[in-house]
């Protein structure tokens, strides 16, 4: 019978785990270039910028009406 479970990958990881652990230990800043359009809308090292972005993100994503139950309507 063919196994369809979830075994760990046998492929070698490309992540440099030693470097990651070192960054965490040093609390090193996350690389961020504000002039790079592909580098995200806020500086992840700036707590205020992160909070501001999350607040705005919530504001511009209201729940859709599609999820609301049908209402009574006789007009």
């Amino acid at each position: 019978m063919e196994f369809k479970g979830n075994l760990p990958s046998t492929k070698p990881s490309k992540t440099d785990w030693e470097w990651v652990k070192k960054q965490i230990a040093e609390d090193a800043p996350i690389p961020y270039d504000p002039n790079d359009p592909n580098d995200g809308p806020y500086d992840p090292n700036d707590d205020e910028a992160v909070d501001r972005f999350l607040t705005e993100a919530n504001r511009v994503r209201p729940s859709t009406k599609k999820n609301e139950p049908p209402i009574s309507k006789a007009s």
């Binding site: 049908p70 209402i71 009574s72 309507k73 006789a74 007009s75």
Partner: protein
Amino acid sequence: MRKLAASGSWGPMVHLIGTDHFRAQRKMRGLDPTEIQRHYQSVVESAIQSIHPDLLAEEDHPSYLSGDGAESLLLPIAQSHGILHLFVEADRATQTKLGYKTVDVIKELLIARGEPSAIAASAHKIAHQFPIRERFWLGEIGKTGAGKVLLVFGDLHLTTLTGLLASEGIPYSIFAERVGVDIANDPEYEALKYAKECSMFGNTDCFCLKN
């Protein structure tokens, strides 16, 4: 169940069934009819047996149905009896062309007049704007030349629609009203009460009717 009001000019006889669109008149596509929707179907069936209409007309439009992912329950009944079916409601563009104002537009007009009230806005819609659409419905029915019409519509139209039919000299009977209506959970019935208490019906000179 049946009240007969009449006047005697030439034209169709219109038999009326007032409903809640979402709870009774339509069903969601792909779902079985609810108990209320089955009740509505049985009301329509008994009307057909009693009236023998040559037209089943309803206040709705294919674009509104598809936009809501819903389907008409009246259409398959008409097909099963071999009776002509007609959607009489105007689409949005036609409503605008007719000068119909939505409740949001009326709210803005009320705010500009210093009278911000959601219930008053709904009352203006019911008492003054509804007849604009209802005249369109009667025009659509008139084009078919049908003699005995069963018309299904939103129950809140009952006051203005019967007033319009009477003023046009078109005989009508109310076969059923408030089918599937849950007054406690429909704030527009509060607005209907408000419109009646404020004697708003019949006023054709309201600010909300001006361009």
